[in-house]
Amino acid sequence: MTRYIARRLMLTIPVLLLVSIIVFALINLIPGDPAQIFAGNEAGRDVVEALRKQMGLDKPMVVRYLIWLGRLLHGDLGKSVRDGRPVLATLLLKLPVTIELAIISLTVAWTIAVPAGVLAAWKRRSAVDYAATTVALAGISIPNFWLGIMLIYLFAVNLRWLPPSGYVEPWKEPLRSLTLMILPATVLGTALAALVMRLLRSSMLEVLGTEFIRTAQAKGLSDKVVIMKHALKNAMIPVATVMGLQLGGLLGGAVITEQIFAVPGIGRLAIESILTRDYPMVQGVVLCSAIAIVFVNFSVDILYSILDPRIGVETA
C-alpha cells in the first residue's frame, strides 16, 4: 500500500511541473509585448521599460520560468494588475464561496442521481428506466448557461419566488444565503446528476449480473437488501472514481454559473480577470484549479485502492 502511494505520488510530480510550465507558457506566449500589454496601450515608453525590468522580461525565458517557479513555491503568485493586491490573497478570499457552491451542487446532484440510477438499473427496460435515461441525456445536453437564464426568467422574473442573483455569506443570513444558492446549485448540479446517474446505472447493471448477487437472491434475501447492501456498495466504486473528473467539470461549470448568478467565487474571478486582461490573476486561477484537480485525482486513486484492494496489487 505504502509502495503504491509512493509510486502514485512520484507520478504526480512531473504532472505538476508540466502544469506549471503550461501556465507559465500561457502568459508568455501572448502575441506582442507582455510589458506593453500589462501596462496598457496609453502607458509611456519609460513606464513600459520599467515594467519590463520589473517583470524580468530582459532575461531569457528559461531563467524567467525558474524565477517564477521559485516564487511560486514560496506562495508568491504575483500581484493583480487590476487592484495591485497579491493574487494568492484574492484566491483564498474567493475560494470558500466556490467550495460552498460546489458542496451544495454535489449534494443536489447525488441526492437525485443515486436513487434514479439505482431505480433505472433495477427496473431495467421499464418506463422508469427510459424516463430516467432520457432525462439524464437531456441533462447532459442542456447548455448550463441557458438553463441558468431560463431558471432566472421562470423563478425570479415571472413567478418571483427566488432572487435572480447575488450572494451573502451563510453565517450572516443563513436563510437568504440558501435561497440565493438554490438556482446556481440546480444549474451546476444538473449536468453532474445526469453524469452520475448514467454511470451508476451501467455500473449497477454490471454488478447485478454477477454471481454473488445471484447467491444473495438464492439465499432468499429481499430485493431491497440485495440492491442496497450488496449491489450498490460495489457499484459505487467506479462511480466514486469519477469524482475527480467531476471536479474539473464542476470548476468549469462554476465559471459560467457564478457569472450568471453574480456569485463572487473563483469562477467569476476567472472571467473578470480574463475580460480585463489581468494576466497574473488568470495565471493564478488556472494554476489553482489545476492543482486542485491533480490532488483530488491523487486522493481518489488512493481511496480507490483502499476500496478495491485489487487495484494496488495489480499496478504496484
Partner: protein
C-alpha cells in the same frame, strides 16, 4: 445476449445476411430509434445551415428600427431582437457558426491527437512517457477554464475560439488513439504484416489505423456536441463569435439584458443549442452501441 447470437447464426444459415460492412452497420444503427431520430435532427440542422441563405426569411444582419423587440408574429415567427433583426433568420445562420465551430475544433483535435497518440502507443518508451505526462497535465485543467484562458490570450473571435477548443480536446484523442494502438499492436495481423516485411509506418497507418477508428468516431461525435456547447459558452461570454455575425451563444449574450421584456430572445437560441447537442449525443450513443463490440 445468447438468444441474439442464436438468431443471427440461424439467419446466416438460411440466407447470407450481412454481418459486416455498411449495410449491416446501418441495419444495426437503425434498430435504435432514438439514434435514428438524432441522426435526422442532425441532418436537418446541417442542411438548414448549408442552405441558410435560401431557407431563412430575412437577412440576419439587417437592422429594422421600426420592429424592435417584437413578440412572435406571422411576419417574424420567433420575434425580433433589440435591433429589430429577425430571430428565426439569425438562428438559421447561427447554425452555420455553431456547426462550423463544432466540426473544425474537433477536426483540429483529431489532426493533432490522432497521429500523436498513435505514434506514442506504437513507439512507446520515453516519447510515450512524455506524451502521457503532457496529456495528464493538460487534462488537469478544467476544460472550460483552459479554453477561456487560451481564447483570452489569442483574442476574441470565432477562429481563435475554435483553436482554443481544439487544443483543449486534443489530449482526449491522444489518450484514446494511444490506447487503441496499444491493444491492436499485439494482434496477429500486425505480426503477420511485420513478418511480410512491412515497414512500421505502413503497419501503423494501413493496418492499425483502420482497426482503431471505431471508438475514435464515437468520441468525435460526442466531442462535436461538447464543442458546440463550448463555442456557445465562449460566445456567450463575448470571447467567441463577434457581432454582427449571428451565433447561438452571442444571441443569448444579448438576450440576457432583455430577459423580462423579450424572453423569446433567450428562448430560441438555447433550444437550438439544446436540440442540436442532444441529437449529436444520441448519434454518438447510437454509434457506440453499433461499433463497440462489448455492447453487441
Amino acid at each position: 445476449m445468447a438468444t441474439r447470437q442464436v438468431t443471427l447464426s440461424l439467419a446466416a444459415s438460411s440466407r447470407p445476411a450481412p454481418t459486416i460492412g455498411l449495410r449491416y452497420f446501418l441495419h444495426r444503427y437503425a434498430r435504435n430509434r432514438l439514434a435514428l431520430v438524432g441522426l435526422w435532427v442532425v441532418l436537418i440542422v446541417f442542411s438548414s445551415a448549408a442552405f441558410a441563405s435560401v431557407v431563412s426569411p430575412y437577412d440576419p444582419i439587417k437592422t429594422d428600427f421600426g420592429n424592435l423587440l417584437q413578440a412572435p408574429t406571422r411576419a417574424h415567427p420567433l420575434g425580433t431582437d433589440d435591433l429589430g433583426r429577425d430571430i428565426l433568420s439569425r438562428m438559421i445562420f447561427g447554425a452555420r457558426t455553431s456547426l462550423l465551430a463544432g466540426v473544425i475544433s474537433v477536426g483540429i483535435a483529431l489532426a493533432i491527437g490522432l497521429p500523436l497518440g498513435m505514434t506514442s502507443g506504437f513507439v512507446r518508451g520515453r516519447f510515450d512517457n512524455f506524451i502521457m505526462r503532457l496529456t495528464d497535465a493538460l487534462l488537469s485543467f478544467p476544460f472550460l477554464v483552459l479554453a477561456l484562458a487560451i481564447a483570452a490570450i489569442l483574442g476574441a473571435g470565432l477562429s481563435k475560439a475554435m483553436i482554443a477548443i481544439g487544443i483543449v480536446f486534443t489530449p482526449g484523442f491522444i489518450r484514446l488513439s494511444r490506447a487503441q494502438v496499444l491493444s491492436e499492436r499485439e494482434k496477429a495481423y500486425v505480426e503477420a504484416a511485420r513478418g511480410l516485411g512491412a515497414p512500421d509506418a505502413r503497419i501503423l497507418w494501413k493496418h492499425i489505423l483502420p482497426n482503431s477508428l471505431s471508438p475514435v468516431l464515437v468520441q468525435a461525435s460526442l466531442a462535436t456536441a461538447a464543442a458546440i456547447t463550448a463555442e456557445a459558452t465562449l460566445s456567450f461570454l463575448g470571447l467567441g463569435t463577434q457581432p454582427p455575425t449571428p451565433s447561438w451563444g452571442s444571441m443569448l449574450n444579448i438576450a440576457q439584458a432583455y430577459l423580462s421584456r423579450a424572453p423569446w430572445m433567450a428562448m430560441w437560441p438555447g433550444i437550438a443549442i439544446f436540440v442540436t447537442v442532444l441529437a449529436l449525443n444520441l448519434v454518438g450513443d447510437g454509434l457506440r452501441e453499433v461499433l463497440d463490440p462489448r455492447l453487441r
